[in-house]
Each structure stands twice: as structure tokens, then as C-alpha cells.
Symmetry: C2
Subunit: 394 residues, 2 copies
């Protein structure tokens, strides 16, 4: 049995030789003057799962609630933090408070390819249906060409070779008007419309249309094909430069979905996880895009833990310890909490500077944990921030 002591002035510690040895072997606590001092989540874990007993100065046994109550004033989100700690430890892996490690060298970011597109001056016009937010191009030759070369619009029926109209959604309509010189006629009034007028109209009627268009344009100008991600629960699906809707008669499949998270938006963790979940269910990489932050916009979001995983040795897979490089900046959060674009970007920056990957540990209402790893990626020359999010099992 592990023996712990608690004193309001000194904290939680162990001094009994057997206990000290067991704690040392499993990297619990911090050694000082022959004692090991424990953080509250460490003590709660030991009480709950390692049969530890914790005594108060008057010799009374302190249970989970009695000990936790002494700390909850200073550690407001204690239960969420404890639960994140508990799950990681419970897998036989090591996790420590952040203050206890030193910063490491930063890692290189993953770079995505790009291809410069060469827009043409299009000698044609499309009719814009203002309330439907679609436009229709009637020229069969040009429609087929735009569709096959750029995979812009929908030529005929989706995945069928019938029909000859090119239907353009509002992003495509604005993009072709802005960068390809396509003439757009208002179907209601017969007047010609400028790209920026169409975009202004869409912005008035559709939430975050400006932020979505900016990111649509960002990828399109780098040669990516960007189509609706509706079937995959995201704003867009993307194909790498060079993709075409029907190469050699076979339909290509996208491997990435792209979701826009405006930095001013706050999203429920559960809503955010839902989008990642759909992408994961259809085996696509989920990319989140957000505006680049100004220096003063970054915030200091509380980060509690660094986590170690496993490494391969001659003896097989063994757990990593504080003698190895830590892997993750582990951030505990609950399913019903909100997170904003600014907070996520700030966390990513912090993890990057420490040479760590960002790991979100999400506690659901049943105390089960879901992990997501966030990796920053670079789209050459872009002024937006993008990161891949992957579901992870430790």
C-alpha cells in the first residue's frame, strides 16, 4: 500500500521508503530533501487506482472528495484535468505537469504542394440567380472545358454524362468573375455584376461567407480543386493540384476535407468533434483553416500537461519517460466547453515553439476520453493557418 500525507501548508507528499521507491519507478511527483511531493491529480489517481491512502495532519484518512475539495479553489477545472491525467496514466503511459519539462527544438511543419494556375479571359457570360445563389453557363464547349480542366462548377448531372449546362455555386461564380474575367449577368435585372457585388450579396445572406470565400480562393489560386464537402460534413473537400473530375473514365476520390473556423467564432467542442468525426468515418484527412492571428491576438490558454508515449527498443515497445523527449502538449477539455479559433491557434503556436504536437484530451459526460492530434501545415505563400486534425488512440 502507498502511504501519502497531506498538510494544507506543505501539500501532498510521501516519505515512507517503499512508497518512495514505487513513485520514483513510475515517475510520479518531484523529489526534494528525501521526500516526493505530488500534484493533486497524481494523488487522486494513486488513491483511486493504486490503493494509496492519504492522511491528514490529525491522522484521518482522506478520500477522493475530501482531498479534491482542498484543491478545487486553486484548481477550478480540477475534475476535467484529473480525468485527462487519469486516462493517460491508466494506459500505462507517463504524463507530467508542463512546468516540469524544458523546451525542445521546434519541428519542421508539413508543407503542401502548389501549382500556379493561369487564368484565361473568358469570352462568355453566365446568368446569376440571386436568391438561389447559383449561376448557369449555357456555352457547352466552355462549360465542359472549365469543368474538365479546373473542375469548376457542375457540368450536367453529378457523376453522369447527361445535360450540358455548367452550374456554378457562389464561390465559383465570384472566383471566375474575379480571376478569369467571366461576365456575370443578373437574371432578375439583366445587368452585369462585378465579382465584389456578388460577394457582398452573398455575405449579407450567408454566415461567414467572406471567410469561406477567402479560404476557397487561397486553395484555388494554388491549383487545388475545391468542391463542396456537404456529403462529408465539412465546408469543402479538396483535391491536390492536377485532379480532374473524370480521368480515364474513373472518378477520383478526395482524400482531404477542409473546414473553415473563423478566428472570431467560438465553437462547442462537441460540434467541432462532430465535423472531425464525419471526416474520419469516410477516411479523409480533416484540415481546419483559420485566419492568421496578429501578434497581440494570441492568448495564453491554460496548458497543463506534457505527455509521453511509447518507443521501440530491442526489448520491444516500452513506455517513454521524462528521460525521453516528450511528445505532446496535452490539453484537457470537456465536451460541453467552447473553444475559439484564437485559442486553438494560440495552443498550436505554443506547442510548435516547444517542439511538441498538440493533443486535445476531450472528456465526455461519461468521463470517457477522445484524443485528437493537431498538426500545423503550410500552404506555400498563404496568409491563413491550416492544421490537420487526426483522431488518435494512445
Amino acid at each position: 500500500m502507498l502511504e501519502l500525507k497531506f498538510d494544507p501548508k506543505k501539500g501532498i507528499w510521501a516519505e515512507e521508503p517503499d512508497t518512495l521507491e514505487k513513485l520514483r519507478k513510475n515517475y510520479f511527483g518531484t523529489e526534494k530533501n528525501g521526500k516526493i511531493y505530488l500534484d493533486i491529480e497524481e494523488a487522486l489517481f494513486l488513491i483511486n487506482f493504486q490503493n494509496a491512502r492519504c492522511k491528514s495532519p490529525d491522522g484521518k484518512d482522506l478520500g477522493f472528495n475530501q482531498l479534491a475539495s482542498r484543491f478545487v479553489g486553486k484548481e477550478p477545472r480540477l475534475f476535467i484535468k484529473y480525468n485527462a491525467y487519469r486516462d493517460w496514466r491508466d494506459r500505462g503511459l507517463v504524463v507530467r505537469r508542463l512546468e516540469k519539462i524544458k523546451a525542445r527544438k521546434t519541428k519542421a511543419l508539413k508543407r503542401y504542394p502548389m501549382r500556379v494556375i493561369r487564368p484565361e479571359g473568358l469570352e462568355a457570360d453566365a446568368v446569376w440567380y440571386p436568391k438561389s445563389l447559383f449561376s448557369v453557363l449555357q456555352s457547352k464547349t466552355l462549360g465542359k472545358q472549365l469543368f474538365e480542366e479546373y473542375w469548376i462548377g457542375q457540368f450536367g448531372i453529378y457523376k453522369q454524362d447527361r445535360g450540358s449546362l455548367l452550374k456554378l455555386d457562389f464561390f465559383e461564380t465570384v472566383f471566375l468573375a474575379e480571376h478569369f474575367g467571366l461576365k456575370i449577368i443578373n437574371g432578375e435585372t439583366g445587368e452585369e455584376l462585378k465579382a465584389k457585388n456578388i460577394l457582398s450579396q452573398v455575405i449579407r445572406e450567408r454566415e461567414y461567407a467572406r471567410q469561406l470565400y477567402d479560404i476557397y480562393e487561397d486553395w484555388r489560386l494554388r491549383g487545388y480543386v475545391v468542391k463542396t464537402g456537404f456529403k462529408f460534413g465539412s465546408h469543402f473537400r479538396i483535391y491536390f493540384p492536377g485532379a480532374s473530375p473524370a480521368k480515364e473514365g474513373k472518378y477520383v476520390h478526395s482524400k482531404h476535407v477542409l473546414h473553415v473556423f473563423p478566428k472570431e467564432q467560438k465553437l462547442l467542442i462537441s460540434e467541432w468533434a462532430r465535423a472531425v468525426r464525419v471526416a474520419h468515418g469516410v477516411k479523409k484527412t480533416f484540415i481546419l483553416g483559420t485566419g492568421k492571428l496578429k501578434k497581440k491576438e494570441y492568448v495564453d490558454y491554460p496548458t497543463d500537461f506534457v505527455a509521453y508515449r511509447r518507443k521501440k527498443t530491442k526489448q520491444g515497445w516500452v513506455r517513454e519517460t521524462p528521460e525521453d523527449k516528450p511528445r505532446y502538449l496535452l490539453v484537457p477539455i470537456a465536451e460541453d466547453e467552447h473553444i475559439g479559433g484564437v485559442e486553438l491557434a494560440s495552443l498550436l503556436k505554443k506547442a510548435h515553439e516547444m517542439g511538441l504536437e498538440l493533443l486535445l484530451s476531450i472528456t465526455d459526460r461519461e468521463t470517457a476520453i477522445t484524443y485528437y492530434v493537431l498538426k500545423q501545415i503550410v500552404l506555400p505563400g498563404s496568409k491563413y493557418e491550416y492544421y490537420e486534425i487526426e483522431w488518435m488512440k494512445p
Copy 2:
């Protein structure tokens, strides 16, 4: 070839004998004085896919855009409506404007079972961690009993037989305090808390917590097990009365997820579809719950079409026609549009009164259509509205 005529004063019609015969056979338009008059979506469909030509009074051919432009002033969401019409027709099925059918007998609603629960006066207290929004019950006997009899809380570790604390989320904490007389102690101050104080605190910190709790309580009081739906992208997952977490050592699987859509909330169609999509991906029935509307709260949401499907005859499956009973009230909508709880409830009421099922036809930015059928269900004695939503392939 089909021959159509257009005159701004008279509309679109056919009068050439071959054309009349073909239109009649496929239930296009309305016959009057030996002519068949067409709605704009019918004419656009015939031009685009049936090789029809439409002539203006001066003998000019009118293409898709030329004809659509004449109508877009009166029919603002013309393209979205046309696309919904197009997809249904394209499957060889019949769809007509709403004004052209008569109301039918209403159908009975699907009833869910219920079992009255018998709450006990619990002689124990749990500690509430205010910033974490969890409480912990330390009594092992009582914890195990609540978990196994009511499947309330999480006893030990999720799906493992270890640990002996009962962790209660905020819905469970409030519910046990309100209906089972469980005593709740504030972990920060040591004071006893009333159910309504805990709920008020949660409402301040969590979006729509009141609406979620009301619906949680509604199902719990009828004997259902209601747990987090986080892993399935919804607010809750539910089990029918009598379910237990570990019957004969086997874990039961929920078959329904329950999502709360407050009537005052407006949701993007794409967000709404995402939640249904996750549920469908894990083979669960998706139930949407919303507050009951007062009579004056119902709105007249535009409904355009009634749709027919197929029936089995001695000759096999054949399409239904206006001589059969229509099946669906078909509502065209685009992925980037918003829909509110009030609009959905109003549409359901209208469909129910006409004896039809409600069918949402969602046009994505690529003009592909996804169909969802909505069926109202009844939870005995409940003052909320619930409906099942299913993905459908016509």
C-alpha cells in the same frame, strides 16, 4: 422533339398533338382548352433533358437562362426549386406543385413506450465540482446500485470493472437532486446546493443547458436511459426502458441518438445534416427534439411540391402517379441556408395535416441532392415534439 411556347401574358404551354400526348403520359402540366400549361420548373426540365424547344412570340428559341430569367422575379429561389424538381423527375418519378393535390387523411403517429420510474430518497451526498460541472459520489454500494439500476453516472472506468467512484455529469447531478433527493455539496465551499441552483449555474456557463436538461428529464422520467451522445455526434444517446449497462456481462448498444434543437435556434442545413450523418454512419436512428410550439408560433414556410414514389403491382414495381395517393411533402432547400426549430415544426404540422411525410430535398453546391424523411413520434405525456430523421434514397 417536344414543342413549347412562351408568351409573357399566357405563360408556357404546348398545343402540338405529339407533344401533348407525351406530356400527358408523364404527368407534366395542367390541361385546359386542349392545351397543356406548364410550370417553369417543368419547362426547364423538358428543355434540359427531354430535348424540348421553347419559342417566344417572335419565333425565337429560348434556352434555359432566357426562359428562367423571365420567371426569376416571381420565383426567387427558382434554381433551388428547379434542382429539387429535376432530381426527382430524373429518377423516373412524378412530382407536382402542391396546389394541384387535395388533402388526404392524416396518418397515426409512431408511439414510443414508457415506464414510470420510482425514485428513492437517497441517503448520501455527492460533491459538486463547480468549474468542472461534474459531481462525485463516494459511496460504493449506492454508486453501483444507481449505475446498474438506472444507468445513471459512470461507475469506475467506462466499460471496465475498475474504480469505485460514481461520476455524475451536470444533467445527472441535477436530476438526482431534483427527483431522488440526493444531497449535493459544493466542493469549493462545503455548502449544500439545491437542484435549481446547480441548474442555474450550468445555464450561465453552457449554451442551451436549460433546453437540454428539459429534454433529458422528459425521457428519464419515462424510464429511458439517457447518456452522452458525444461519440455519435449528438447531445444524447438513448436506450429504451429497462436497459442496463451490463446485462449478463455484455454491453448493450444504443439504437437511437437524441439531438435537441431549441425552437429559437437557427441552424445551417449543413450543420444539421452533419449530425444526422454521424448517426446514420453508426446505424442509429436520429431523433430531433424541440419545444412544443404555441398556436401563433407556427409559420407558413414555403412548400412547393408533393412527390410520388413507386408501388408494387403484379407487373412489379411501377411509379406512382397523381391517380395514387401522394407520399411526400417535398421541401427544396440549399446546403448553405438556415432552418429553425419553428420552421421545421411548422412543416411537420403541415405535412401531418395533409397525411404526407415530410421530405427535405437538400441541394448541395454541386447540385447533388440528399433526401431526409422526417416522421413525428409521440413520447406519452410529453410536452415536447420529437421526430425521427432518416436518410432516404428515392
